[in-house]
């Protein structure tokens, strides 16, 4: 194994441990009402993100290519994407407590990554395309944004169920704002998902001569796209804002996860290698 990949291994493990620590800190913050733990959680999560980024860079150098071509690489990048979008939203909307809900999602996904084989394999010719790099890296951002909207919508639904004590009042934005933040996350995710589908189609056209062939992975990305389109329209036709929108965002993310893991596991298709 080359040196970069060894370093990557260490950085990856360190990042995973730190994500776990941040999850515990957030838990203390939320369940035990420890203010300081919340701040510490944010710092630890940012540190984990830095290590995680370094791990991905090492992977890329070590493998000599874009690190986005097998289950391990995609899963670890997916977790990274959620963390990236989460940190951006924490900063942009001054919403510290968001990490509390994102950390478990990140930890589960990076845990899934840890269970995958880390072997670096040479790529089959069809995968050696720069469209693939655009395709997959936009998928990371898109999935990350949907992950954040999922977390925000869960918070919304908890709020909806009457979680309205003083602690919530001071740390969680009010419902209108949550709805708006979730919408911003879905908008980001939707724009990028569209980009994923378009670049994927261009790539498929070059590699297989057909830009759309109703392969299960393609079909499910379309289903996910339609679900989020429904979300966007339901929000416009008033009355449906808030709770229903939040439920749709949750369903949408379940579709994202299914497109990502379920399709490879349960359905046959040409995407089964990625």
């Amino acid at each position: 194994m080359n040196g970069y990949l060894q370093v990557e291994n260490t950085l990856f493990t360190a990042a995973m441990v730190l994500y776990f620590v941040s999850m515990i800190l957030y838990f203390l913050f939320f369940a035990m009402r420890r203010e300081k733990a919340g701040k510490a959680g944010n710092i630890v999560m940012s540190a984990a993100f830095v290590l995680h980024t370094a791990a991905l860079v090492c992977r890329g150098i070590g493998a000599g290519r874009f690190p986005l071509t097998n289950q391990y690489e995609f899963a670890t990048s997916f977790a990274w994407g959620i963390c990236l979008v989460c940190l951006i939203f924490v900063w942009r909307f001054r919403f510290q407590a968001l990490g509390t809900f994102a950390a478990p999602v990140i930890f589960v996904i990076i845990g899934y990554a840890a269970m995958q084989s880390r072997e670096v394999k040479e790529l089959m010719p069809a995968l050696r395309s720069s469209w693939l790099a655009f395709h997959v890296s936009s998928a990371i951002i898109s999935y990350g944004a949907f992950g954040v909207s999922f977390a925000v919508s869960l918070i919304f639904l908890l709020r909806e169920r009457g979680k309205n004590n003083a602690f919530w009042e001071s740390h969680i934005p009010e419902k209108n704002r949550l709805d708006m933040i979730s919408y911003r996350a879905v908008a980001l995710g939707f724009l990028f998902l569209t980009f994923v589908i378009v670049t994927g189609a261009i790539w498929a056209e070059q590699a297989w001569g057909s830009y759309w062939s109703w392969d299960p992975k393609e079909t499910w990305s379309l289903v996910t796209w339609i679900i989020y389109a429904l979300y966007l329209h339901l929000r416009i036709s008033r009355g449906w804002r808030g709770k229903s929108a939040a439920i749709f965002a949750v369903i949408g993310f379940v579709c994202v996860i299914f497109t990502y893991i379920g399709v490879n596991t349960f359905l046959p298709g040409i995407h089964s290698y990625a």
């Binding site: 050696r128 209108n176 569209t194 261009i202 056209e205 429904l230």
Partner: protein, 433 residues
Amino acid sequence: MQAMKKIWKFMSSMKFALILLVILAAACSGGSFITQGQSYEWYTSAYSETAAAAIKLLGLDHVFTCWWFIVITVFLCVNLLLCNVLRAPHLVKRFRGMADPAGMLRRRAPGDHTAVAGAEDAQKVFEKMGFRNPKAGTDQEGRAFLYAYRHRAGLWGAWLCHLGILVLIVGFALGQMTKREYTVYGVPGQSRPIGDTHYALSIDSFEIGLRGDDTVEQYTSGLTMYNIDDGSSRSAQVSVNHPATLYGMKLYQNSTGYAADIAVLKDGKEIQRETVCAGEVLEVEDKEGLAIAFMAFYPDYYMDAGTGPMTRSSAMNNPGYLYQAYYQNQIIGMNVLTGEDVITIDEYTVVFSDPQSYTLIQIKQDRFTPMALAGGLIILAGLFLAFYLQSAALLAWEEENGSWRIVGECRKGGALFEERLAECITPERRKPE
């Protein structure tokens, strides 16, 4: 008449759009779970008789091309078209209206906005909010006002996105209806007609680039296409991910397989020799009804007790040819030939030799691919406008007592825009109570 109007209205409504989208999503997920394109018998054994009957009846064995899927897609297009056509004049009006402060001056509500101390503070709030060079003027009652707007183009985002979807669907549908597809395969030196076209494709070369570890890096075919009518020709190289276009047709390196030379000898004299790809059948010309099917090839052959014929590697260490011999459609022999093995049938001897790789080239012509691509790009542009260029306007005006009031409008920014505005009106800018 009334009913017609109602139908018309429904056809252009968002409610109809939502219903159609839900059905499409459900159909797509159904189509991904039910294996497509199988026979009735296949579904019977995979599910049950009733399920198989239902699948065939509803066309669930070919969801994406069945009539009701197409009808729903057509409805979606009509819906999108109507929605866009009906909304266009309204959008033009809003787009124009934004440049004119009159609309917002009319809409301002009395008194419920935070007041700022004076004109200078109001100006600062405009700057802070990112609105440059507000237009100054006086309203009908002679009071001074400041007005600015931004990202007017953003109003067109959703409209453009819908237009893109329409272009994409129409481009895809036209492509499906008119596209032509052919496959040609062979070994270097062979030339074959391309389906029913007036062209032929000859394979000049075929190379498999291997890496040090025996994995394939690239497949590359050198090709020449001939116009049978005028005798002209054009050449190109194609490899995986790098198709080429000749005579308006796109050539793709699709896959590869093995081929071998099959020689037929009669009483020791060669009477026929052909290069045959694995999977093809050689008809013996000298004896009607006699045929040799070249079933499969194993470059480094060995017999596995469990799975049958196998290959150890892709190196030609021990070529093995699996064949079946037929006479008048009856199998009369089947075996794997290795080393010096030959097939002997009465006075005929059949010899396999010179194994090599053949290349499979896919040839496509879809004139509407650029249209579909344009649709995709329009959608992306529309989404960017809709989400990231949110149109907004800001109005400040002087009250009778000399203080200023500010109001903002940003339909999509909602709570966040209001919040930002509230932040920009800092305590020091605020009019003292």
